[in-house]
């Protein structure tokens, strides 16, 4: 690669828009060209300055309050209109058929609920603390956009000292659960706005992301943020496109493992890889770690995640 090409592609490299092979060529050129290496550092600095400068621009509190008030007024208007339509249903000529329909529906729903409770006793408790679709998408996106960038990284990976204090040294905490995995990167990133502590591993060529983020309103389904800390369920699993995701929660953090491994394999991996971080953050968040299993390795690795009640 020539210097001219390097400079043309550099901004797209920072935006993670280049193919892995082109990234590799770019980094290789930077290693051997001090001028381009300096330009790379300066442009990275420019991007970070721009980001810091723009991140200070926020809507005023008054504007935010006006926005909330308008939304509530709009929702109130909609429900009044809906209530009017609802009441119209009870005009005399509609009353009997509507009442009959309601009765049939009630009987059907009672019957189905009864069946479901018998067949799936754990459904209610699992769903009650489910992660939001937004968080699942953001975790998947972080893995897709960020992890592959570090596939060729060869330098030892460690969290920079400039990240949030909770995340400093995270790769050392996670090491206890990462036997058999190779660590490529440790950093904090936010490809879609949500900040994740991101540890990038490989195992037999498969990319694996271990992610930690704050457990906030956007991360949890709306009506469940304030469930009691000690009643957090254990492991949750889901898919997004071709990715498998497994997640744990503590009072203030969510720990996720994301990969393209088949779901059962990702689940098994998650329940060892994430465990040291789960213990670490439960302690950090003021929760007990009693009941959490110890890690054992070898042919008889046992998954012992306990429901935390």
């Amino acid at each position: 690669m020539e210097c001219r090409n390097f400079k043309e592609l550099l901004d797209s490299y920072f935006c993670q828009e280049l193919a892995i092979e082109t990234n590799h060529q770019l980094l290789n050129h930077a290693e051997h060209c001090p001028h381009c290496r300096a330009e790379m550092a300066s442009r990275r600095n420019l991007r970070e300055s721009l980001r810091r400068a723009c991140s200070q621009e926020r809507m005023s509190d008054e504007a935010c309050e006006r926005l909330r008030a308008r939304l509530r007024a709009e929702a109130g208007f909609q429900s009044k209109t809906a209530r009017k339509q609802w009441l119209n249903l009870f005009e005399f000529r509609f009353a009997i058929p509507v009442a009959a329909t309601i009765a049939v529906l009630i009987l059907a729903i009672v019957g189905v609920s009864s069946y479901l409770r018998t067949e799936n006793p754990s459904t209610d408790s699992f769903d009650s603390l489910a992660l939001s679709e937004t968080l699942v998408s953001e975790a998947a996106s972080d893995h897709k956009k960020c992890a592959s960038k570090f596939l060729l990284a060869t330098k030892p990976a460690a969290m920079p000292d400039t990240v949030e204090p909770d995340y400093i040294g995270l790769e050392k905490v996670a090491a206890a659960g990462a036997e058999g995995l190779r660590l490529h990167a440790a950093h904090v990133c936010s490809p879609d706005g949500r900040r994740f502590a991101h540890l990038v591993y490989t195992r037999d060529g498969a990319l694996i992301s271990l992610l930690v983020t704050n457990r906030d309103e956007r991360a949890i389904k709306a009506d469940n943020l304030f469930s009691a800390d000690d009643k957090l369920d254990g492991f949750q699993e889901t898919n997004r496109e071709n990715l498998s995701l497994g997640a744990f929660q503590t009072a203030k953090h969510i720990i996720l493992v994301v990969s393209e491994l088949p779901k059962p394999e990702n689940n098994k991996l998650a329940q060892t890889l994430a465990l040291p971080l789960v213990k670490h953050f439960r302690q950090l968040d003021g929760q007990s770690i009693a009941g959490l299993p110890e890690l054992r390795y070898g042919n008889d690795v046992t998954i012992l995640i306990t429901q935390l009640k």
Binding site: D11, E57, A63, L71, E74, A75, V136, D192, E217, R218
Partner: protein, 181 residues
Amino acid sequence: MIRNSAHNSQQQLETFEAQALGFTDQLFRVALRLCQDRAKAEDLVQETYLQAWRSFHRFELGTNLRAWLYKIMFNVHYSNQRKDRFHLVPVEETIAETLAYDPPTPQRLTEKEVLAALERLPRDFQVPIVLSDVEELSYREIADVMEIPIGTVMSRLHRGRKILRTELVNYARESGYKISS
């Protein structure tokens, strides 16, 4: 069970607020670049959220909410522009010069200098730069939310970033900073 629609609306609003309002500042940052005026930017964000709330029943949970909100914001902005007889002509028609020289990026930059240089760019360059370099949308996402071809996105980013670097070099020279060659 046929549910009371007022309770339903309240629950839906809480879901919407929990999921969508977290993007307020991100929308506002781009709105500032579009409107070049704080009060207008706040109005644009408010209008965006109202439209988004009205359309929320059509939004597919699990898809990219942030991109959806940006797209609504651009649609509202374009719609407002069409009502304004004096809206600005797109930049490609006013700036014919292509910069052949790409100066080295100054090493020492303050946030104030960088923001000032950004604000001197034509609006049509500021917006994709902020979407890409600050909000970290992909080129394809930018093309989708702005409803312009991806080639136009890449062209505006390429030229906009070059002009930004040139502005910073000129400022650095005037201020007596050393520029590495």
